[in-house]
């Protein structure tokens, strides 16, 4: 069977953008392999996601709610394995976020298959799957094939694949899976979800990121970054140097030892462009650099750059974006 099973993340039925990326990729793979696109929408409210998942091409939608909230790695692994038993996929797709990082490897092992994490390209050709993924913190890319009889679990880098809605929706036939909680599945279980106190988008999910470096000089001066980010509806980020200096929290750190982001637009303010920082943002579609040092390495990677004083340029940019985006 050459079906593709998409693990579609949602918040109480509100489908996440990454699921649409996965479904678009799944449709392309299914067209090449002659299989169907299936989706699994697990956890509370999954039924509410079915129509949207069908709109993006799912022929079948697997649901399961009971026993999957609160989250437990083992109960979700079992539910996905159960969906795979019904779907019989050649490929299972996750978005390369915290769910995949937790259980994609376990799922692949349970199904005696292979795992390819954080793919930036994937295609099916002559019964063989070809994929490309970054390694060594993005310092190289490896391309590999998979032709095995078992399943390939592939996790896809968010924002690395475009979203495309088909002219006609998929059938979206809903199957409710019976995966009632088993006591040994609760050996590790979430007991509390502490949401960040912020209306700003998450760094790894944002379409636009505005990052500040140590040149900002203080936590107070990081307000210039937050103001620009808010004018753009962006997520604020920071370099390691800024975090180590105490100007921004570790949760904002972008780079080899922080987060990897892949937004459509990355604005680096007062960041010189050390290799370790680039590792976390170099795949951004557009990179803007603002730095008073014309020789800063970041300008070699930037699509657009302003050589100037942060403390003049950032407020001017914030004002200009506010003016232009108001209308």
């Amino acid at each position: 069977m050459s079906n593709i099973l998409v693990i579609a993340e949602h918040a109480n039925g509100a489908v996440k953008k990454t699921a649409f990326e996965l479904l678009t990729v799944a449709r392309a793979l299914a067209a090449q392999s002659g299989g169907e696109v299936h989706a699994a929408a697990f956890g509370p409210g999954g039924g509410g996601a079915a129509a949207e998942l069908a709109a993006y091409g799912a022929q079948r939608v697997f649901m399961a709610e009971a026993g999957l909230d609160p989250y437990a790695s083992l109960s979700w692994t079992r539910a996905i394995a159960a969906a795979a038993g019904e779907s019989k996929p050649a490929i299972i797709l996750f978005s390369a976020g915290s769910l995949a990082r937790d259980i994609a490897g376990r799922v692949a092992t349970r199904l005696d298959g292979a795992l390819a994490s954080d793919c930036v390209a994937i295609a099916s050709s002559g019964g063989k799957i070809e994929l490309t993924r970054p390694v060594y913190a993005g310092r190289a890319r490896v391309s590999a094939g998979f032709a095995g009889g078992a399943v390939l679990v592939a996790t896809l880098r968010p924002n690395a694949f475009s979203i495309d809605k088909p002219a006609a929706p998929g059938t979206g036939a809903v199957s409710a899976l019976n995966v009632a909680a088993v006591p040994e599945d609760l050996r590790a279980v979430v007991v509390e979800v502490a949401k960040a106190q912020s209306t700003r988008p998450d760094l790894t999910e944002a379409a636009i990121v505005v990052s500040g470096g140590r040149s900002l000089g203080s936590a107070e001066k990081f307000k210039l970054i937050y103001d620009l980010a808010d004018a753009l509806g962006a997520a604020p980020g920071a370099s390691r140097a800024a975090v180590d200096a105490g100007y921004a929290p570790y949760s904002m750190q972008v780079g080899q030892t922080g987060k990897t982001v892949n937004p459509a637009l990355y604005i680096a303010c007062g960041i010189s462009g050390a290799i370790q920082h680039l590792a976390g943002m170099r795949t951004s579609k557009y990179i803007v650099a603002i730095n008073k040092d014309a020789n800063a390495p970041i300008f070699k990677m930037a699509d657009y750059g302003i050589v100037g004083d942060l403390f003049e340029v950032l407020p001017a940019l914030t004002d200009e974006f506010r003016r232009v985006l108001k209308s």
Partner: protein, 258 residues
């Protein structure tokens, strides 16, 4: 508590990663190597747990060629009780998990600690695969770890998109470690000297009953490439206000990204 810590030798974060002439491999001979940094948090977590639970033992495990012994030397120098080198020319994460599971199968530890990801393959595969093979619970990317009152498990914190999870985990478990969990200690001079007297156990995968078929790479590598290079773009040198207006115009009209 019987603790196993898995350590992987990887190229240093500052090492140049060059594609070999054949385009199908990387030229890594002679490159500086380190213990994968997230594995260091795992080793430190083991040491702290042994301090808090006297009588506990720490077994450090590594897989790879003889270069990997560097990991065990370091583990000995900070006080690991024993070391296991699974000697093999090269093992991908899936094969390494099979080999380590085979090594631990007959005398399972209570707790396995690993780094959240190996910074060479960035697969996030080994810990979950090992937990599945051992039928252990697992918790991923823990940034805070507290033993439960009855010592039967842990309360773990994990950073995720938009917040943090608190997870209760029962032993036996595989727990993977994230930055911020602790500050790995440096070996003392005495530790380094003591390490020279310690010998690791060396086993091949065959010794552990792992077949060549089990060790075959999961993915068939066809080529390596450097990351896509960007060509330098437009630099604006006007005064702040004009530069800002020009940049906004370019982002809206040319890049169409705002």
């Amino acid at each position: 508590m019987k603790i196993a810590v898995c350590l992987k030798l990887v190229p240093a974060t500052t090492a140049e990663i060059r594609v070999a002439a054949d385009g199908a491999s990387l030229a890594l001979a002679g490159v500086e190597t380190i213990i994968s940094p997230y594995d260091e948090y795992a080793l430190e977590a083991a040491l702290k747990l042994r301090e808090a639970n006297p009588g506990s033992t720490i077994q450090a495990i590594t897989a790879g060629n003889d270069d990997a012994l560097k990991c065990l030397q370091h583990a000995f120098s900070v006080g690991a009780d024993s070391g296991l080198h699974i000697k093999s020319a090269s093992l991908d994460a899936r094969a390494a998990a099979k080999a380590v599971a085979a090594a631990l199968a007959t005398d399972k530890p209570d707790l396995v600690l690993c780094g959240r990801q190996a910074i060479d393959d960035d697969q996030w595969l080994f810990p979950g695969a090992l937990a599945e093979a051992l039928d252990f619970a697992h918790v991923t990317a823990v940034s805070a770890l507290a033993q439960s009152a009855d010592k039967s498990g842990f309360q773990c914190r994990r950073r995720i998109e938009g917040g943090e999870l608190v997870i209760d985990a029962k032993l036996p478990a595989v727990i993977t470690c994230d930055k911020g969990l602790n500050e790995p200690r440096a070996p003392t001079l005495k530790g380094r000297l003591d390490a020279k007297k310690k010998q690791p156990v060396v086993k091949t995968p065959a010794d552990l009953g792992v077949s060549d078929a089990d060790l075959a790479p999961a993915l068939d590598v066809t080529k390596y490439a450097p990351p896509p290079q960007k060509t330098p773009g437009k630099i604006i040198s006007s005064p702040a206000k004009e530069a800002a207006a020009e940049l906004v115009r370019l982002l809206r009209d040319e890049a169409k990204v705002v």
